[in-house]
Amino acid sequence: MAHPSQLGFQDAASPVMEELLHFHDHTLMIVFLISTLVLYIIVAMVTTKLTDKLILDSQVIEIIWTLLPAMILILIALPSLRILYLMDEINDPHLTIKAMGHQWYWSYEYTDYEDLGFDSYMIPTQDLAPGQFRLLETDHRMVVPLNSPTRILISADDVLHSWAVPSLGIKMDAVPGRLNQTAFITSRPGVFFGQCSEICGANHSFMPIVVEAVPLEHFENWSSMMLQDT
């Protein structure tokens, strides 16, 4: 989850998010590099006593400041496209979950084998147990098996919502009448938090998402238990 005064991304919990993190580092480094270089050149230009009377038609510098930005842009574009296509690879998911956005809660359906469905409401602040996170906890969590490619189909029942879990590198709009698909793999067990990311009314800030990644046998026990309860 996010922590106070955080500046960067949350630690990655899926391979795609790791790639996005490294790409962000790479691109930000290029941006800092260019900014530092330009700032230094500005200072050097401003503090010189030399005056250049040859200010027309400097072929060399023109070539340099055309080619260098072109090369930098290619340096950014190649990893970017690589990740773009990597994110589109959905190779035979082991599980499909449907996430429906409502005003103002999410509902999850696991219909691969049985008909399991449940709602996930935020736990109000006054009902939190010690150690729970304010505005992030829900009464029912979306449990997924660890290290298993999982497909998630996202839609909405009323208005636009967006299903987002930063540490998994996922954000997908929930559009009424439309089914959006994305997939992920959790690299490590744990609990991962997200929040609705498309303004959807009064309680838009109060419909969080919690994903729990556990080993497969525990996931199976959980889903049997949930089926008995519902």
Binding site: Y40, I41, E212, H218
Partner: protein, 71 residues
């Protein structure tokens, strides 16, 4: 006697030769961020025991789908 002739040409090139390597040198130090971070992730997962971590998390009681062993 006449004074020695002052340097009249190549003043900008001389300035650039001095300043440009410094500019690029300072800019290149930003490379020091990306490689350690990639290595940190690789090292984290190299000897990562998911089962052990899961058991520790389970005992800490953070999961809702799995209670601590014995409960």
């Amino acid at each position: 006697m006449s004074l020695p002739k002052p340097v009249m040409r190549g003043l900008l090139a001389k300035r650039l030769k001095f300043h440009l390597p410094i500019a690029f040198g300072v800019a290149i130090t930003t490379f020091a961020v990306t490689e350690p971070r990639k290595k940190a992730y690789a090292n984290f997962y190299k000897n990562y025991d998911a089962v052990k971590e899961f058991k520790a998390m389970r005992e800490a009681g953070i999961f809702e789908s799995v209670r601590p062993a014995g409960k």
